[in-house]
């Protein structure tokens, strides 16, 4: 018998592997009493049979010792996957219903250091709007990144305004002083054309054999790009197909957040709002620090939903909050890092169901794990939901918390959408609700921001650019916090 299929008798009995034999007797008795008389037949009910097996094995000293030995030899899973659903079953209905899945992926054990070298391209805006202070903060962030990286890592530096300039071509980090000297001379000039910069940085990344590296492109910008958005998105897709992750950081308030979200979506990277220049260093450290503990990359969830189930909304919650695109063949989730699990939330809409049926949701993850030299390795899971007359609603607390924060995030999104289509009245009402809910949940700063935007809608029929970013990224941050604060499931 393969030890990987060894059932966990301790888990079945709900006792610790160190539990004394008296506790095992007690647990087994209590559990068996939950089974009705007529299924307490070792040949009948599978769950009951398992319980009996667990009891018979663990209550005998010799058998328990042998079992413990086998259990200790189990090969750890390559990827740990945890799935929580908002409900254990579905309801027989003539209409649609919702179902939430909260999924967590993590390495099999704590992973503090990745063995795989990093191939990093930093591309930053040097347009005149960047001004001295922003550019200096970018430079100091880059300096820190360069200092932190290992000698096997590769880095390239590219700046852009109306055109791109490669400051440091892709190079191993042997001569750090030289890289820093080259960086020193960068001055602000011209406008913002992101595509030129992206293309140059992408070319630098491709000078290394991509298969042997963790490939990452980081964009720092403070402005709107003009007329080249489609080209940028095409390049982002191309990069994702080759295993390059793109993250994008917007500095200040005058940049297009929807565009940056779309730019990072194909590769599952991060887009974030840098409100103050001095935060640039922190974001960059976080971003590059994550690469240093990376375990699995290019994690994708195949879209295999049955015909009667559709994905309404998908969002990543940890290590950072980022909306996910569930319209394609596969959803790109980004990387599994050692520091924090990759957690995402799915809102699924289920078509009318008949009593006695069953809905099966397959979850197939495909990923590369560099340390094990695995490429496109698939991990298959599934969740089954029986269709009953009266479904139970007892969602796990973590799911409730995540969905609650998602509802705030979406309330904000909807308010902006209402405003954009000219429905100020509706937008005002939503902004008011948002302020109330944020206050109720104790997020006073964000609540005040929402209240201010509401007032602005009433008095001036407008919303502010800084409010837009603060509320959008602020409510995203709440999603991450919802997951990390309600504790983990192990």
């Amino acid at each position: 018998m393969s030890t990987n299929h060894l059932p966990d008798y301790y888990e079945i009995l709900g006792v610790a592997p160190t539990a004394p034999v008296a506790e095992i007797h007690k647990a087994a008795r209590q559990l068996s009493e939950k089974f009705p008389e007529e299924v307490r037949d070792p040949d009948g009910n599978v769950a009951f049979r398992q319980l009996m097996m667990a009891y018979e094995t663990l209550s005998n000293e010799q058998r328990r010792a042998e079992y413990d030995r086998q259990r200790a030899q189990r090969r750890p899973d390559i990827l740990q996957v945890g799935i929580q659903s908002s409900r254990p079953n579905l309801e027989a209905l003539n209409g649609e219903q919702l179902l939430y899945l909260l999924v967590t992926l993590r390495p099999p054990s704590a992973q503090n250091k990745s063995e795989t070298p990093v191939n990093l391209a930093l591309v930053f805006d040097r347009s005149t709007s960047m001004r001295a202070e922003r550019l200096e903060q970018v430079k100091s962030a880059v300096r820190q990144v360069v200092e932190k990286m290992g000698s096997e890592d590769i880095i390239s530096l590219t700046s852009f305004s109306d055109r791109a300039e490669v400051i440091t071509p892709a190079t191993r980090l042997k001569d750090k002083a030289k890289i820093l000297r080259q960086l020193h001379d960068v001055r602000t000039t011209g406008g913002t054309e992101i595509f030129q910069g992206l293309q140059a940085a992408y070319d630098q990344l491709r000078r290394a054999p991509l298969g042997r590296y963790i490939n990452h492109l980081v964009l720092l910008t403070d402005g709107h790009t003009y007329g080249d958005e489609e080209e940028c998105l095409r390049l982002a897709q191309q990069a994702a197909d080759q295993g390059i992750t793109i993250s994008a950081f917007g500095i200040g308030t005058d940049w297009n957040d929807d565009f940056l979200d779309r730019l990072v979506a194909p590769s599952g990277g991060r887009s974030a709002y840098v409100a103050r220049p001095e935060q640039i260093v922190m974001y960059m450290r976080e971003e590059v620090g994550g690469l240093g503990t990376l375990y699995a990359q290019r994690v994708r969830l195949k879209n295999q939903l049955p015909e009667d189930v559709s994905c309404n909304y998908a969002i990543k919650l940890s290590p950072f909050a980022q909306p996910l695109d569930c319209s394609g063949e596969a959803m790109h989730l980004g990387a599994v890092e050692g520091r924090a699990p990759l957690t995402f939330l799915l809102e699924l809409k289920v078509a009318p169901q008949r009593l006695g049926g069953e809905v099966v949701i397959p979850l197939t993850f495909v990923t590369d794990i560099p340390s094990l030299q695995l490429q496109d390795r698939a991990f298959h899971y599934e969740q089954r939901f029986e269709v009953v007359t009266e479904a139970e609603m007892s969602p796990p607390p973590q799911v409730v918390k995540a969905v609650e924060m998602l509802s705030l995030h979406r309330l904000n999104e909807l308010a902006w959408q209402d405003f954009e289509v000219g429905n100020t009245l509706k937008a005002t009402r939503r902004m008011d609700w948002l302020a109330t809910r944020l206050m109720e949940t104790g997020h006073t700063t964000l609540a005040q921001q929402a209240a201010m935007e509401k007032e602005r809608l009433i008095s001036m029929d407008s919303l502010s650019a800084s409010g837009r970013k603060q509320l959008k990224y602020g409510t995203r941050a709440l999603l991450t916090r919802a997951i990390t604060l309600t504790g983990n499931d192990d």
């Binding site: 939950k34 309801e91 919702l98 179902l99 289920v350 009266e390 479904a391 969602p395 509802s407 809910r437």
Partner: protein
């Protein structure tokens, strides 16, 4: 549809929060109705009264009447024996005292062995027999295999089939 108690917006079943105003929807946080205190009547051998307070003695109820709105049927049963509730199973030669077959029990998710009602010195109680779709007592979902006190005027739901209970 679930109606939001704060803004009246309709949400799909299974929703946890209102999309319009962000309020928690009642079905998300707790089962319908309030939790009834659980009393382990069966384990008590001697005198202690139910719920630690004086229980109105079951006014010498002789019979129990079930009213089933779905079929308009009225069933009166004596209380001198255990009452099984469910659907007849001819292959097992099993006919429960309260057979809900003709009330469209199957369509409403009634199990064959759905629940039982027993009389004891502490009063009448109902036990869900691990039914597939559960038993609701005044909108409270009964955990299987645990006895709960039953009173005249209570509302029971086996699966989705509503049954009113009266004592005579």
């Amino acid at each position: 549809m679930i109606e939001c108690s704060q803004c009246g917006h309709d949400e799909l079943p299974g929703s946890l929060f209102c999309t319009e105003c962000g309020a928690v929807l009642s079905s998300a946080s707790e089962p319908d109705g309030t939790l009834l205190p659980f009393t382990d009547i069966l384990s008590k051998e001697s005198e202690p009264s139910l719920l630690g307070q004086a229980v109105e003695p079951v006014q010498e109820a002789q019979a129990i009447v079930f009213v089933i709105p779905n079929s308009g049927r009225r069933v009166r049963l004596p209380l001198d024996q255990k009452i099984h509730i469910g659907r007849a199973d001819p292959s097992q030669e099993y006919v429960p005292e309260l057979d809900l077959t003709e009330d469209e029990g199957a369509e409403h998710g009634v199990s064959r062995y759905h629940a039982t009602i027993e009389d004891s010195r502490e009063g009448l109680f109902i036990v869900d027999q691990d039914s597939t779709n559960g038993t609701l007592l005044n909108k409270f979902r009964l955990p299987p295999q645990l006895p709960y006190p039953l009173h005249s005027g209570d509302e029971l739901r086996f699966g989705q089939l509503l049954v009113h209970v009266f004592l005579e």
